[in-house]
C-alpha cells in the first residue's frame, strides 16, 4: 500500500507541477477518452466486472462490458485501468461548500443571511471556487456538492456545484435547483446547569411559526397567478416550487414534524419534496414510502440521539429505511472538512446490513434524484455527464479508496491539493520522500 500511494502521489505531482494556491482548473475535454478493464460500479445497482467506459465532450458515450462487446476504440485515448474500480462521482447534498472556509472565523462564513423567509437568497452568489475543500473532496471521490444556505424558516436557494472551476458560473452544475425550509421544531432543547444535561420542552411558538410559513406559501401561490403585479423578489423565487422546477428541501427531524411538514408542502401543491436530516424518519417510513419522499440522512458516522437507542442505530439507519422502501441518500452533517469521508459513510452502511451497490446509490444516483439532477449525473449511463473517478480498490472502504483519476464533465481534474503539497514539502525536508 505504501508503495502504491507514494508512487501515485509522485505521479500526480508531476502532472500538476508546483502551485501556491488551489490547483489550476483543468481544461475542457479536448479528446475522447476510454477507460478500459476496470470494475465499473454504475451507481444504479449494476456492476460490470470488465468494463469499457468512454466519454467525449464531457458526456458518457460508451458504458460496456468488454467481455461481451467488441468496439472500436481507435478514436479514443485509451487508459488501461484494469483491476481498478470506476465509480460515478460521489455527490454531497446539503453542504456549505464554497460558503464556509474556516468555520470559527466570522469573516469566512457566508451561509446564513438574516431574516426568516429568504427564498431569494442564493448560495451560488457566495460560492468561492478557491475554497481549499474542493481539492480535498476530489481526492476521495466527491465530485459534486450542493451549496446550501442555512438559517431562518426558509434559508434560501441552493445550487449544485462541480468541485472544479474558475468562478461560480464556471463551477455551477445546476443553478437554484432547490429551496431549503427549516420546519419549526415542536420541542426545544435547553441546557440545565443543575443536572448538567440537556432537557427538552415544548416550543411555544410552533403554531405561530407554522402559520407564518403557511401564509407565505399561500400568498406566493396566489402571486404566481396574478396577471399584473408589483414584483416581489421573495415570491418570484418561490415559483419554481409549484411547477416542479425546484425541489423543496424540508429540514425536519422528529416523526411528527416530518409528517406535519410533508403534509404542509403537499397541501400547498409543492411538486418535488425531499426530506433532509430525517433522523426520525424510521418511525414514519411507511408514510414516506407511500408519499414517495426521498430522505437525505445525516452522516452514518454519528452518535445515536438517545441513550436508549441501539448503539449502531446511525450506522444501520440507511439500511433500515431502504428496507422499508424509502429512497435514502447520505449527507455530511458535521464540520465541512468531514465531507471528504462521504464514501466511508456509505461503507459504514454496508457494514450494518446494506448491499454495497445499494450503499453506493446513497451517495450517487439516489442523491441525484433527491436533488433533481438525475437526468445528468448519479450513474454511469450513456448521455450523462462524464463525472466519474477511478480508484485502486473499493472506494467505500479506507483500504481501497485511493484515486488515480477523476473526471468532472470529462475534464481530467487534479487530485493533489495543498495538503498533498505540504506532505511532499515536509516529507522531503526529513528525507522521507525523494
Amino acid at each position: 500500500m505504501k508503495n502504491i500511494t507514494l508512487t501515485l502521489l509522485i505521479a500526480l505531482f508531476v502532472l500538476n507541477a508546483a502551485w501556491a494556491q488551489t490547483p489550476v482548473p483543468a481544461k475542457a475535454q479536448s479528446k475522447p477518452i476510454a477507460l478500459t478493464g476496470a470494475v465499473a460500479h454504475l451507481g444504479n445497482g449494476q456492476v460490470i466486472q470488465n468494463s469499457i467506459i468512454a466519454f467525449d465532450k464531457g458526456k458518457l458515450t460508451l458504458v460496456l462490458d468488454a467481455t461481451t462487446s467488441k468496439v472500436d476504440l481507435s478514436r479514443y485515448e485509451a487508459i488501461n485501468v484494469a483491476g481498478k474500480h470506476v465509480y460515478p462521482g460521489f455527490i454531497l447534498p446539503n453542504s456549505q461548500i464554497g460558503l464556509q472556509e474556516v468555520s470559527s472565523v466570522r469573516a469566512m462564513n457566508d451561509y446564513t443571511e438574516r431574516g426568516e423567509l429568504n427564498p431569494n437568497i442564493r448560495a451560488l452568489i457566495s460560492y468561492n471556487t478557491d475554497t481549499e475543500y474542493t481539492a480535498s473532496f476530489r481526492f476521495n471521490g466527491v465530485l459534486l456538492a450542493e451549496a446550501t444556505p442555512t438559517g431562518g424558516l426558509i434559508s434560501g436557494s441552493s445550487s449544485v456545484m462541480e468541485m472544479e472551476g474558475w468562478n461560480w458560473e464556471d463551477a455551477a452544475h445546476t443553478i437554484d435547483m432547490g429551496i431549503h425550509m427549516n420546519w419549526p421544531p415542536m420541542m426545544r432543547r435547553q441546557f440545565d446547569f443543575n443536572t448538567f444535561s440537556f432537557s427538552e420542552s415544548a416550543n411555544k411558538d410552533y403554531e405561530k411559526q407554522v402559520g407564518e410559513l403557511e401564509q407565505f406559501f399561500v400568498e406566493a401561490t396566489a402571486y404566481g397567478k396574478l396577471a399584473t403585479k408589483e414584483t416581489n423578489l421573495k415570491f418570484e423565487a418561490m415559483q419554481g416550487l409549484f411547477d416542479g422546477k425546484k425541489t423543496l428541501f424540508i429540514h425536519a427531524n422528529n416523526p411528527k414534524e416530518i409528517v406535519a411538514s410533508v403534509r404542509f408542502a403537499q397541501r400547498i401543491r409543492v411538486q418535488r419534496i425531499t426530506l433532509v436530516e430525517g433522523l426520525g424518519a424510521y418511525h414514519v417510513a411507511e408514510f414516506l414510502k407511500e408519499n414517495k419522499i426521498p430522505v437525505i440522512l445525516p452522516a452514518t458516522q454519528n452518535l445515536p440521539a438517545r441513550a436508549d437507542d441501539d448503539v449502531d442505530l446511525p450506522y444501520k439507519l440507511p439500511y433500515l429505511l431502504s428496507q422499508a422502501g424509502v429512497m435514502v441518500s447520505i449527507s455530511n452533517d458535521g464540520a465541512l472538512h468531514g465531507a471528504r469521508n462521504l464514501g466511508f459513510y456509505a461503507g459504514t452502511a454496508v457494514a450494518y446490513g446494506m448491499d454495497k451497490e445499494e450503499a453506493l446509490k446513497t451517495i450517487t444516483s439516489n442523491t441525484a434524484k433527491a436533488l433533481g439532477i438525475d437526468n445528468r449525473v448519479g450513474t454511469l449511463e450513456v448521455g450523462k455527464d462524464a463525472t466519474l473517478f477511478v480508484s485502486h480498490g473499493d472506494a467505500l472502504d479506507y483500504r481501497g479508496n485511493v484515486l488515480t483519476h477523476a473526471f468532472i464533465s470529462g475534464k481530467m481534474v487534479a487530485l493533489p491539493g495543498n495538503q498533498q503539497e505540504l506532505y511532499e514539502r515536509y516529507s522531503k525536508k526529513y528525507g522521507q520522500m525523494k
Binding site: 500511494t5 446547569f193 440521539a305 441513550a307 479506507y398
Partner: protein
C-alpha cells in the same frame, strides 16, 4: 365505637376549652423583651389521658397519660394521677407521637439568589465579589450563620406542622461551604424562643450557589476548592498572629466541632463527598438525592449517616408513542424504583433520616413516605427516620425525637397509627403550644334519615366522611335527587329540587337535636314551612378495600448497572476463554499471525499459539476473524461528569474526582473496541486539570473504572482556546501565545520556590520545627512540582509549530520533557525537533480547517511524525470518532501508505506507551492483561465490527448480547409504559416528555457552552 354512638357522645367540656385555646393563643415574649400590656404569665399545664402514647419509635404505651408543663414533658406513662389545675384532655382511642423532625429545610431563611448561566462568556469574574474580609472564593460561605437571618414563617410552619413536624434544621442552601445551620421549632412565639440551637451543624455541598466568580465552574473544581479550603484552614489556624483577616476561614475552623453535613444530591456525589471527608478525617452526614438504591453497596461502604428526600419523579405522559421516545429508560426506571429507595437503604442496614427537602408540594410528603412503606420500608424504621435518627444526628435527641421527661412537648395527636392512610392528624403541639390541624369533634352525620317537610316525607341519605358529607334523596332503588347540604355540628342547610321538570327548589335551614335536625324553610313559591328529620338507620356497609385494586403487589423492575439503557442486572466475570483460529495482530515481533489460538485466563493472556486446548475454557471460533489488542484512546472525554474548569492554571482539579459511571458513551466506545482511555481535562486553560486513566468497565463504580497504579498525567493546552479566542470580551490572562508561555514559566518557577520553602521547613530540627510557621500547602504548586519531579506527565493540546517549539523549550529549561503533544496538527512541521526532545504525538487523522490554527492540518501528519521517529498515536477527543478509532488509523494507510501493522499500533500499543501502560496492555502477549478485541473483519476496514470487547478477561461488549440487550430495553420500556399509563389513569399528575440527554464533551466545552470542535 359505632358511628351512632359517636354521634350521641356528649361533647366534652375539655374540647371546648381547647378549641378556645387554639384561637386565643398569643405570643408571650421572653423576659428581656419590652411589654405593651399587663403581664400574662401562664404555666401551660396539660394532661392527656387514655391515649396510646408512642414515646419513641420502638416503644408505645397503651392507655397512658402525658403531663405537660411549661412547654416540656413533665411525665409520661400509666398510673399517673392528673394533678389539680391541669387542663385534662381525654384521648381515648387516639394516639400521641413525638413530633417529626426534618434536618434539611430552609425554614425561615430567604431564598438563594439563582445565578443564571454560570458559563464562561463575557467578561470573566476572576475574584470574589463578597464585600468584607471574607474568603477569596465567593462560594466559600462558611461565615454564614442561619441564626443571623432566621425569621419565623407562619405559612411554612403551618404547612410543616400539618405534616406532623415540630422542629427542623434550617440551612441556607448556598455555596460550597454553606456556613452553619440552626435547629428551630415550628412554634410561633418569637424567633428567639423557637431557636433551640443556633449552630446546629456546618454545611457543605457540590454546587456553587449564588457565587458569580468563574472559578470553580465544574464538579472537579467544586471538589478542588473544598480540598484547598481544608488545607488553608488548617494552615490558617496554625498562624498566630494571622497573616491576614479571613472571617470565612475563622468560621470554618470554629465550626469543625459541629456535626458536618454535606448536601450531595445524587449517589455519585455521595461517593465524591465521602472521599473528600476521608481525606480530611471528617465523616459527613450526607444528604442524598433519593437514588441511592442504584448503588447501595457503595453507599453502604461510605459508613455515612444519610438524609434522604422522598421527592419521587412525577409519572411521565406516554400516551403518544412518538412522544414517549423522549423519555429514557433510566428516567422511567427511576420513576418506578424511586419509591423502593428507602426500603433498599433499610435492607442494607444504612442509618438514615427522611427529609421533605426537594418536594415540589409539601403535601406529598406523608403519601410518599407511605409509598415507601408499601414498597417494603418498615413502619418502625420510617418513624425512626423521622424522629430519633434526625435528632441524634444533630445531637438534639435530649430535646426532640421522643417523649421523655424533660424533653420538649413536641407531639402530635392522631386518630390512629401515624402512617395509616385513614389516620387523621388532629393536633400538633410544639413547645407546649397547641396547633389544631383538624377538629377532633367534627360530628359524623352519615346515615339514613326520614325528612318531613310540610307533612311530606322524603328518604334522605347522608354519606361521606365527617366534615365533608354528601347527601341525596332516594326516590327508589335507582333514582335519586341530589341535595346540596352544609353540615356543621350545630347548623344545617339543605336545598333540592323535588321535581325534575320544575326548576323551583325547596330550601331548608335548621339546627341539630338529639336524633336529627329541625328548622324552617321556604318552598319554591316562597311559602315558609317547618321541617324535621330523624335518623332511621346506619348506611349499608360498603364492600371493603375495593379501591386498593386487590392485594397483589405490583412487580418492579430490576436495578441495572449502570443505571442507564444498556446497563445489565449483573456484571461480567473473568472467564477462561479460548479463541481459536483467528488472525492475531500481536503488535510484537511476531507481527500478524494467521490461524492462531489465544487462551485467556484469570484476566490475563495466558498463551498464544497453534492448537491450544484447555478443557475449562469456553471456546470461541475465530475463523475468518481478527484479534487485536484493545483500542486505547489517548485523548478522550467519555466517562467524566465535567471536563473544564476555568482558572488559567487549573492544575488542582482532577478528572478522577468526577468519573461518571453512567455515561452512555462508555458503552458506545466499548462497542467500537475501545478498552481504555485517558480522560483528559478540556482546553480552556494553559494548565488544565489532572487526567484519569480508565478502563471502560461498564457497570462498575466510578473508582473501579480507574486503572490502579497508573502514572499521573495532566492536560496542558496552547493556542486559540486558552487565549479565549472564542470570547471577544475576555479579560483573562493570557490573551496571546506570548502570555501562554509566561503562565508556564511562572507556574514552574513558583513550584521550585514552593519546594524550597517546604524543604527548608522539613529540614529544621524537631524543636525549631515545632516553633516555626508551617508553610501553606498549595494544590497547584504541588501538582506543578510533581511535573518537575517527573511524577506527573504532560499531555499538551497543541496545533501550530511555534507553540509546540515553545513548550519543548520551557520544559528543557526546567529540565524535564513533555510526555505527549495531543492533537499536534502541525507536528509534521517540527517532527525532527519533537523526535529530538523525545515527546510523543497523539493526533487526529484528518480533521482540519474548523479554526484558524488548524488551517494547515493534513492527513499525512501522523505518517510524517511516525517516519521521523516520533512515537505517534491517533486520538479522538470525540465520543463519535472515539468509537471507530481503528478506522481513523486506517486513514494513515490510505493517505500516506504506512504499514497496516504500524497503523493499528497507533491506536493500541503506541497510546499504551504514551500512557506508560505498555507493560500491561497494548499488545497481544502472554502475561499482559486480557484487553483484546475480536473483529468480524480486517480491523482497518470500514466493514469491521467489534464482535467482542474484552477487558481484564471479562467480556464487556458482545455483539450478540447487545442485540438481546436492545430487545430487553424495548420490553422493559413497554412494561413501565403500561404502568405509567395506569398511573395517569388513576389521576396522578404527569409530566410531558421532559427528556434529558447527556453531554458529549469536547475539549472546548465549558459547561456545554462554546461547543465547537477541538
Amino acid at each position: 365505637m359505632t358511628i351512632t354512638n359517636y354521634m350521641k357522645m356528649k361533647k366534652s367540656k375539655v374540647v371546648m376549652i381547647l378549641a378556645l385555646l387554639f384561637c386565643g393563643w398569643t405570643a408571650r415574649a421572653q423576659e428581656t423583651f419590652p411589654r405593651n400590656d399587663v403581664k400574662d404569665a401562664r404555666a401551660g399545664l396539660y394532661a392527656f389521658t387514655n391515649a396510646t402514647i408512642v414515646v419513641d419509635y420502638q416503644t408505645s404505651i397503651q392507655n397512658a397519660t402525658l403531663l405537660v408543663k411549661n412547654g416540656k414533658v413533665e411525665q409520661v406513662g400509666t398510673n399517673i394521677t392528673v394533678p389539680k389545675g391541669y387542663t385534662s384532655v381525654d384521648l381515648k382511642g387516639k394516639y400521641i407521637y413525638p413530633s417529626l423532625v426534618d434536618i434539611y429545610t430552609n425554614y425561615g431563611l430567604s431564598e438563594v439568589e439563582r445565578v443564571r448561566g454560570g458559563g464562561f462568556g463575557g467578561v470573566e469574574q476572576i475574584e470574589s465579589k463578597t464585600k468584607g474580609a471574607y474568603n477569596a472564593n465567593q462560594a466559600i460561605r462558611s461565615h454564614y450563620n442561619a441564626a443571623d437571618e432566621f425569621t419565623m414563617n407562619s405559612k411554612v410552619a403551618d404547612e410543616m406542622r400539618k405534616l406532623g413536624f415540630g422542629a427542623v434544621m434550617t440551612v441556607k442552601q448556598d455555596g460550597l461551604a454553606r456556613g452553619t445551620s440552626s435547629f428551630v421549632t415550628l412554634a410561633e412565639r418569637s424567633d428567639n424562643n423557637a431557636m433551640l440551637k443556633q449552630k446546629a451543624a456546618a454545611n457543605y455541598s457540590l454546587t456553587k450557589g449564588s457565587s458569580t466568580q468563574n472559578y470553580p465552574s465544574s464538579m472537579m473544581g467544586y471538589i478542588a476548592v473544598l480540598r484547598q479550603t481544608y488545607l488553608d484552614a488548617e494552615w490558617f489556624a496554625g498562624q498566630n498572629p494571622r497573616p491576614f483577616a479571613d472571617q470565612s476561614l475563622e468560621a470554618w475552623i470554629q465550626s469543625q466541632k459541629l456535626p458536618q453535613i454535606f448536601d450531595a444530591s445524587t449517589w455519585m456525589n455521595i461517593l465524591r463527598a465521602d472521599k473528600i471527608g476521608d481525606e480530611f478525617g471528617v465523616q459527613y452526614v450526607i444528604k442524598g438525592g433519593g437514588d441511592e438504591y442504584k448503588r447501595i453497596n457503595e453507599i453502604k461502604a461510605t459508613n455515612a449517616n444519610l438524609i434522604i428526600p422522598v421527592n419521587y419523579p412525577e409519572a411521565y405522559d406516554v400516551e403518544d408513542p412518538f412522544d414517549a421516545e423522549r423519555v429514557s429508560l433510566a428516567e422511567m426506571k427511576h420513576w418506578e424504583l424511586a419509591p423502593t429507595n428507602l426500603a433498599a437503604l433499610e435492607k442494607a442496614g444504612i442509618n438514615f433520616s427522611i427529609t421533605t427537602n426537594g418536594l415540589k408540594k409539601l403535601s406529598d410528603f406523608i403519601p410518599n413516605v407511605r409509598k415507601a412503606i408499601e414498597n417494603g420500608l418498615s413502619e418502625t424504621t420510617a418513624l425512626k427516620a423521622l424522629t430519633s435518627t434526625p435528632a441524634q444526628l444533630l445531637k438534639v435527641d435530649d430535646q426532640v425525637g421522643s417523649l421523655k421527661k424533660g424533653m420538649l412537648a413536641n407531639f402530635i395527636v392522631t386518630s390512629g397509627k401515624i402512617f395509616d392512610e385513614k389516620t387523621t392528624f388532629f393536633q400538633n403541639w410544639v413547645q407546649g403550644q397547641p396547633f389544631e390541624l383538624k377538629s377532633m369533634d367534627t360530628r359524623d352525620f352519615s346515615g339514613n334519615y326520614n325528612l318531613t317537610i310540610n307533612g311530606k316525607s322524603y328518604n334522605l341519605e347522608v354519606s361521606g366522611e365527617a366534615g365533608s358529607h354528601k347527601s341525596k334523596i332516594k326516590v327508589n332503588d335507582t333514582t335519586s335527587i341530589d341535595v346540596t347540604g352544609i353540615f356543621s355540628n350545630d347548623l344545617i342547610t339543605l336545598s333540592f329540587k323535588p321535581e325534575k321538570k320544575n326548576p323551583e327548589s325547596i330550601r331548608l335551614s335548621g339546627w341539630s337535636d338529639a336524633n336529627g335536625w329541625k328548622g324552617k324553610g321556604q318552598l319554591g313559591d316562597g311559602t315558609w314551612i317547618t321541617w324535621n328529620s330523624s335518623r332511621t338507620a346506619d348506611l349499608a356497609a360498603k364492600s371493603p378495600a375495593k379501591q386498593n385494586g386487590g392485594d397483589k403487589k405490583e412487580e418492579v423492575g430490576k436495578v441495572i448497572y449502570p443505571f442507564v439503557a444498556h446497563g445489565t442486572p449483573s456484571l461480567p466475570v473473568a472467564e477462561t476463554m479460548l479463541i481459536k483460529n483467528a488472525t492475531v495482530w500481536t503488535n510484537e515481533a511476531d507481527g500478524i499471525l494467521p490461524n492462531t489460538d489465544i487462551l485467556i485466563k484469570d484476566g490475563k493472556i495466558l498463551k498464544i499459539g497453534k492448537d491450544l486446548a484447555d478443557p475449562a475454557a469456553k471456546v470461541i471460533d475465530g475463523t475468518g476473524k481478527h484479534l487485536t489488542a484493545g483500542i486505547i484512546d489517548e485523548h478522550s472525554h467519555v466517562g467524566a461528569a465535567s471536563i473544564n474548569d476555568v482558572a488559567s492554571n487549573s492544575g488542582m482539579v482532577r478528572i478522577g474526582d468526577n468519573i461518571d459511571a453512567e455515561a452512555i458513551n462508555v458503552y458506545r466506545a466499548l462497542a467500537g473496541g475501545v478498552v481504555a482511555v485517558q480522560v483528559l481535562h478540556g482546553s480552556a486553560n494553559p494548565i488544565g486539570g489532572q487526567s484519569a486513566l480508565i478502563k471502560l468497565r461498564w457497570g462498575e463504580s466510578p473508582e473501579n473504572y480507574k486503572i490502579q497504579g497508573a502514572d499521573g498525567f495532566i492536560k496542558f493546552a496552547l493556542g486559540e482556546n486558552v487565549k479565549r479566542t472564542g470570547n471577544p470580551a475576555s479579560i483573562r490572562f493570557p490573551q496571546t501565545r506570548m502570555g501562554v508561555e509566561q503562565v508556564f514559566v511562572d507556574a514552574f518557577t513558583n513550584a521550585r520556590e514552593y519546594e524550597k520553602k517546604w524543604s527548608a521547613y522539613n529540614s529544621l530540627p524537631a524543636k525549631e520545627k515545632a516553633l516555626a510557621l508551617k508553610p501553606r500547602r498549595d494544590l497547584v504548586d504541588e501538582t506543578m512540582l510533581e511535573i518537575l519531579n517527573k511524577k506527573r506527565f504532560i499531555s499538551c493540546h497543541s496545533y501550530v509549530q511555534s507553540e509546540i517549539n515553545m513548550l519543548m523549550k520551557v520544559a528543557e529549561r526546567f529540565n524535564f520533557r513533555i510526555n505527549t503533544f495531543t492533537h499536534i496538527l502541525e507536528g509534521y512541521k517540527v517532527a525532527d525537533k519533537m523526535a529530538q526532545h523525545g515527546v510523543a504525538a497523539s493526533t487526529f487523522s484528518d480533521w482540519w480547517n474548523y479554526k484558524w490554527e488548524v488551517r494547515y492540518a493534513i492527513p499525512y501528519n501522523a505518517a510524517i511524525m511516525h517516519r521521523a521517529g516520533v512515537l505517534t498515536a491517533i486520538n479522538s477527543d470525540d465520543a463519535e470518532m472515539g468509537r471507530r478509532l481503528n478506522q481513523e488509523a486506517a486513514k494513515s494507510v490510505k493517505y500516506a501508505g504506512i504499514s497496516e501493522e504500524d497503523a493499528l499500533k497507533m491506536v493500541t500499543l503506541n497510546p499504551a506507551k504514551m500512557l506508560h501502560l505498555d507493560n500491561q496492555m497494548g499488545s497481544v502477549k502472554a502475561g499482559k492483561s486480557a484487553d483484546v478485541v475480536l473483529w468480524t473483519d480486517h480491523p482497518l476496514s470500514v466493514y469491521a465490527k467489534a464482535e467482542k470487547t474484552i477487558i481484564d478477561g471479562k467480556v464487556y461488549f458482545d455483539i450478540e448480547k447487545d442485540k438481546q440487550n436492545n430487545k430487553d430495553i424495548e420490553v422493559d420500556r413497554a412494561r413501565i409504559i403500561q404502568k405509567l399509563k395506569n398511573a395517569k389513569k388513576s389521576g396522578v399528575p404527569t409530566q410531558r416528555g421532559e427528556s434529558r440527554s447527556q453531554l458529549d464533551f469536547h475539549c472546548d466545552d465549558v459547561l456545554g457552552f462554546e461547543k465547537t470542535e477541538d
